[in-house]
Amino acid sequence: MSEFLRDYLTVVWFGAIALVLAGLLLGIAALVRPNKPNAQKLIAYESGVDPVGDGWSQSQIRYYIFALLFVVFDVEAVFLFPWATQLERYGTFGLVEMGIFVFVLLLGLVYAWRKGVLRWV
């Protein structure tokens, strides 16, 4: 197994320990906790009033344009990190290149700003 995969084995162990721990405690809880369901107890909680309609009601997701912008900037971050580690080697050349890249992105942000997309509608 390569060193790289071995590191991920450690991650798997951490996940496994979390699951075993939670499983163990939930198992103990299942043995000692009371279980007395009734119809009133099992309806959705709406501050003591009987719920109106379905819990999965329609609601407006106002930030979907933010989500689109997020994808753009997240991809930008993927480009930024490799550049950041090698900046010393690239020197001024890398600096100017990335300056142009970040400037174009900032331009995009300013454009979205001017178009009023960054406003909560």
Partner: protein
Amino acid sequence: MIAVDLPYWAQSLLRVLGGTVAVLLPAGTIVYLFLFKMMSFMQSRLGPMEAGPYGSMQLFAEVGKWLQKEDIQPERADKKIFKIAPLIVLVSTFILVAVVPFGPDAFFTDFEAGVFYFLAVSSVSVLGILIAGWSSANKYSLLGGLRAAGQLIAYELPMVLAVVGVVIQAGSMNMQQIVFAQNHGSIFGWDGLGNPYVLTQFVGFGVFMIAVQAELTQTPFDMPIAESELVSGYMTEYSGFRFLIFFIAEFANVGIFALIASVLFLGGWGVPFSWFGWDSMDAVDDWMNIVGPLIMIGKMLALSFLIMWVRFSYPRLREDQLQRFAWKVLIPVSLVNIMLTAILKVAF
């Protein structure tokens, strides 16, 4: 170290188990008590006093109490998903620890791209929150989950961009290398303090801590769990032990983000290497493997104090104020910070 020739999987399992029991469990207990006491004093009350001397066994009392609580699952809920959601939050909290180095040899993983790993895993717990909100079939929970998603989208970016400055300065995404670069560095040729990046990247540190506050949904960014309007948001329908998992994961996440912030900005486990004349990672003395975790816990306490202090000092922002602050202040500031850091790095 271990005389018996164990297969690799057993070695790494032992390492993880040992690390969890020796470092994380005591650290968790201490941090839990520390935060509880601290927030109690800020609100002029005593906090936990009954469980153990000075309330020190509060965490265990908490577990014992919640074990006995009924596990109510709403009838309309998507039960399978409803049960899985807290586990996702717990697992993502645990595997986030894997990337934190505690000493020259006391680390769990040594990822070449540790910063990437941290950024990727830290956004997984929000998936748990989102599906908890959806599966509860409750309007409060649904709104809470959606708000959590919107908040993650807004504050993930400032956090990622704030870290870029650190990566530029260290020239590496490996957590150990970042620690090394800080403790081995010097400020204008003076190496008495090393070069903790909080001094040079103070803008990045500020942006990072604000983004962490938002990622952890702590006040002033706690719309997803706003108790006065959403009745704890995505946690509304949870009861019994599953609620406790969410509750403890929240505190654990504060501690872990504090650990990571101290690695990135405060010099991690190290002391300035010039004090002892260490000039490479191999030259660091072995006793740092004992002192390192203690230093890390100290820094974690300091930073989680900061997070909690802010939490108890500021009122809640509105959803639109939150989005505006992220997109119109934090992101431009962190982009400018990146370019300034890069220019200074090339110039010097």
